[in-house]
C-alpha cells in the first residue's frame, strides 16, 4: 500500500492520540490497582496526635542498660558499624550532660549527680522541625497523622541541608557504602539497608507502630524511655511530665522537640 504525505501524517497523529490515550488509561489503571492492593491498616496499629518520649536516665544504671537500647534500635534498622568515626551512622546514642545540654553546661556548681549523668539522644521529632523546612525535595517530612519526622531515603538527593539545619545532630549521612565490608553484622531482612549518599535518622519505629509495637528503644529500656501521645492528657508520657520535672534540648530555638528528659524525681515534688 502506498501512502502520500498527508495520509501518513493523519495516521501518525491519530495513532499518537490513541497511544497517549492508552498510556493514560494504563497509568490510571495502575494507580487504581496500587491503591486497591494496599493492605488495610493493622487494627492493632498504635495511633497518636503527636508522638513523644519521656526519657528518665535515672533508671538506666549500668553501661549495658544504655547499650541495650542502642543495640535494639541499631540492630533492627541495619545501622552499620563503621571504622572511621567521621562516617559514623547513629540513630540513638549516649552523651554526657555537658554535651547534651551545651547551652546549660556553663553552670559548674550545679547538682553533681546531674552533671555526671549520661543521656540517650535520638531524633527529637520536633513539632516545628528545621530539617523539614529546609529539605528541597520533601524527602524529610513531618507525618500529618502523628507528627513523626520521616525520612524517605529513596527521594533524598544527599544535599545535607537537613544536617546543617538540625540543631540536635540527629542526622547521619552515608559517606561510604553501608552494605560493604560487613558493616551490618546481621541484616534484618524486614527493614531496608541504605545506599551511599543519602541521609538517615531515627524514624520513631514507624514500622513497628504500624503493627502495634512500641519503639524498639522504649521496649528495651526497662521503663527508662516511655513513648506516648503528647497531646493526650491521659497518656503515660503526660502523667510522667505532670509528676516529674522534665527539660528539653535547646527549647529556645523554637523547634518544639518531642523528647522530654526527666531531671528531678517525683518524691521532691
Amino acid at each position: 500500500m502506498s501512502m502520500n504525505r498527508r495520509q501518513f501524517l493523519k495516521l501518525a497523529s491519530v495513532s499518537t492520540i490513541l497511544g497517549v490515550g492508552s498510556a493514560t488509561a494504563i497509568t490510571s489503571l495502575g494507580r487504581g490497582g496500587l491503591e486497591a492492593s494496599q493492605a488495610s491498616p493493622d487494627p492493632k496499629a498504635l495511633k497518636a496526635k503527636r508522638w513523644g518520649f519521656v526519657v528518665d536516665v535515672g533508671m538506666l544504671k549500668t553501661e549495658e542498660d544504655y547499650q541495650k537500647c542502642i543495640d535494639a534500635c541499631h540492630n533492627i534498622h541495619n545501622v552499620p558499624t563503621l571504622k572511621n568515626p567521621k562516617h559514623e551512622i547513629k540513630w540513638i546514642w549516649k552523651d554526657d550532660y555537658e554535651h547534651t545540654f551545651p547551652n546549660m553546661a556553663e553552670d559548674k556548681i550545679m547538682n553533681k549527680e546531674l552533671q555526671e549523668k549520661n543521656f540517650l539522644l535520638f531524633c527529637n521529632h520536633c513539632a516545628n522541625p528545621a530539617c523539614v523546612r529546609v529539605c528541597p525535595t520533601q524527602a524529610t517530612f513531618k507525618r500529618k497523622s502523628d507528627g513523626i519526622v520521616m525520612q524517605d531515603m529513596h527521594r533524598c538527593i544527599g544535599c545535607r541541608f537537613c544536617m546543617a539545619a538540625c540543631p540536635f545532630g540527629a542526622r547521619s549521612f552515608n559517606y561510604v557504602d553501608p552494605r560493604k565490608d560487613n558493616a551490618i553484622k546481621v541484616e534484618n531482612k524486614e527493614f531496608p539497608t541504605r545506599m551511599i549518599g543519602v541521609v538517615e535518622k531515627c524514624t520513631a519505629c514507624y514500622e513497628r507502630l504500624a503493627v502495634g509495637k512500641q519503639p524498639a528503644c522504649a521496649e528495651a529500656s526497662n521503663g527508662a524511655i516511655v513513648f506516648g501521645d503528647l497531646e493526650d492528657p491521659k497518656s503515660e508520657v503526660r502523667k510522667l511530665m505532670a509528676e516529674k520535672y522534665t527539660i528539653r534540648r535547646k527549647p529556645e530555638l523554637g523547634t518544639q522537640p518531642s523528647i522530654y528528659y526527666v531531671i528531678g524525681g517525683g518524691e521532691h515534688v
Binding site: V134, P136, G158, C159, A165, G169, F173, Y175
Partner: protein, 388 residues
C-alpha cells in the same frame, strides 16, 4: 560568532588542552567519588559541608558582581564601562556554571537532582537558590550574547534586551541574598544565624568579583589588542575599595556582637577560627592570612597613589581575592560547623580527590570563560567599542 573561539594561536590551544587535561583528572576523581561515595572527601557527620560548598559560596559572589558594571553603565550611563560590561556578564556565566557544578559534585545522589524540580518545595531556600541561579545564568547568556552580536554588526542591540538587563540587576542581588539565606535561616548554627549575612555576602562579592574582573581586564590587555581602558579599570578599583571596606566593617560588627554580648555560643566559632578551640587550630593560620591580607590590601587601595599604580594595584587585588576566598569560603562554611551541636570540635581538611574534583570544576569554569572571552575579544578587536 562562536567560530572565533575555534581559531587561535598555539598558546591559545595549549591553554585549552591544559584545561581539558585538568578537567579530565577531575572527572576521574569524580567517578571515584560517584562510585565510593563522599567518604573519599574530608567531610564528616559533624562537618557535612566543606570545600565544594565553600567554592560555591565564593563563586556566587563573583557571579553577582557583574552588576557592578551593569548598574553604572546602564543606569548611570557611565560610558567607560561600555567596552567591558561584556567581560562582567561572561564572568558571571562562568561563575554560575561553576556554582552549579559545585552543588552537583557535593550531592550524595546527583542522579536524583531533578527531584528538586519534580517536588518543588517553596519553603526550602535551596529550591529558590536553584531557581535564581538558573535564571541568572540564562539572563547573562542571553544579554551578553545578544549585545555582543549587535556590536559585531555595529548596530544597537534589540529593544527587548533592555528589560532583561534591568531585570538582571535585582536578580544579581537576589542570587547572593538567597545564598546567604541558605545559612542565615538555620537555628543553632551560631556563626550563620545573623541578619547581616546577606549584606556581608554582597559586600564581599562586590569586592572580590570586580577584583577578579580588573585582573582579567589587565590580562586581556596584555594578550590581545583589546584595551578595556584605563579609566574603566580605575573606576572598578574604586568599587573594590569601597566594597572591601564595607566587607571588613560588616565582619567587625559580627565580632562585636559575638564578644560584647558574652553569649558563649556566639563567640565559639570565631574563637575556633582565629585562636583555635580545645586545641584544634587548623584554620587559624588561614584566617589570620585573610585578616592581614584584607587590611593590607585596603591600605593599598585607599591610598590613591598605590591604587593608581598598576603594580601595587595588582597586589592589592590579589590580596582582596584571597582574603574574600578564605573568609567566605572555608572560614564561613567550616566555622558554621565548629563547634558541632554538642559543642564538640571535629576538624576538616579537603582530601586529594576532593581537591582534584575542585580543580576540575574550576577548569570547566575557566574553559567557559576562555571561550566566551575569546569571542568577545575578537569582536572588540575588530571594531572597538560601540557605544549605544
Amino acid at each position: 560568532m562562536f567560530e572565533r573561539a575555534l581559531s587561535g594561536s598555539n598558546r591559545y590551544w595549549a591553554w585549552i588542552f591544559f584545561l581539558l587535561a585538568v578537567i579530565g583528572v577531575g572527572f576521574l576523581a569524580y567517578m571515584k567519588q560517584l562510585n565510593e561515595g563522599l567518604g573519599i572527601t574530608g567531610l564528616s557527620r559533624d562537618v557535612s559541608w566543606g570545600f565544594y560548598i565553600a567554592q560555591f559560596t565564593f563563586l556566587v559572589g563573583v557571579a553577582a558582581s557583574a552588576v557592578m558594571l551593569v548598574i553604572p553603565y546602564y543606569l548611570h550611563n557611565f560610558k567607560k564601562f561600555g567596552k567591558i560590561v561584556i567581560l562582567g556578564e561572561f564572568l558571571a556565566v562562568s561563575a554560575v556554571t561553576m556554582c552549579m557544578l559545585f552543588i552537583l559534585v557535593d550531592m550524595g545522589q546527583p542522579m536524583r537532582v531533578l527531584n528538586v524540580v519534580l517536588h518543588p518545595t517553596l519553603n526550602s531556600v535551596m529550591f529558590w537558590d536553584a531557581l535564581v541561579l538558573n535564571g541568572y545564568l540564562f539572563l547573562n547568556i542571553i544579554i551578553g550574547w545578544t549585545t555582543l552580536a549587535a556590536d559585531q554588526k555595529q548596530v544597537a542591540p534589540p529593544k527587548w534586551v533592555k528589560p532583561l538587563i534591568y531585570l538582571s540587576i535585582p536578580w544579581a542581588v537576589s542570587i547572593h541574598t538567597v545564598t546567604a539565606f541558605l545559612y542565615a535561616g538555620l537555628p543553632g548554627r551560631h556563626l550563620w544565624l545573623t541578619a547581616i549575612m546577606a549584606a556581608r555576602f554582597l559586600a564581599s562579592a562586590f569586592a572580590g568579583g570586580p577584583a577578579i574582573l580588573v585582573l582579567l581586564a589587565l590580562l586581556v590587555r596584555k594578550f590581545s589588542k583589546f584595551d578595556p581602558g584605563q579609566e574603566a579599570i580605575q573606576s572598578l578599583a574604586k568599587i573594590v575599595t569601597y566594597a572591601m571596606c564595607a566587607n571588613v566593617f560588616f565582619f567587625l560588627l559580627e565580632v562585636f556582637t559575638a564578644f560584647y554580648s558574652g553569649i558563649p555560643g556566639h563567640a565559639h566559632p570565631l574563637v575556633y577560627l582565629f585562636a583555635g578551640l580545645d586545641g584544634h587550630t587548623k584554620l587559624v593560620p588561614w584566617m589570620w592570612t585573610a585578616a592581614v591580607l584584607a587590611f593590607a590590601s585596603i591600605a593599598l587601595l585607599v591610598n590613591p597613589s598605590t591604587r593608581q599604580n598598576e603594580g601595587t594595584l595588582k597586589i592589592a587585588l590579589v590580596g582582596v581575592i584571597i582574603a574574600a576566598w578564605i573568609d567566605k569560603g572555608m572560614g564561613l562554611v567550616i566555622g558554621g560547623f565548629v563547634p558541632n551541636p554538642f559543642e564538640r570540635v571535629t576538624e576538616y581538611a579537603p582530601t586529594m580527590p576532593e581537591l582534584a574534583i575542585t580543580f576540575g570544576v574550576y577548569a570547566v569554569g575557566l574553559l567557559v570563560l576562555t571561550l566566551l572571552y575569546k569571542v568577545a575579544i575578537g569582536v572588540r578587536e575588530e571594531n572597538g567599542a560601540v557605544e549605544h
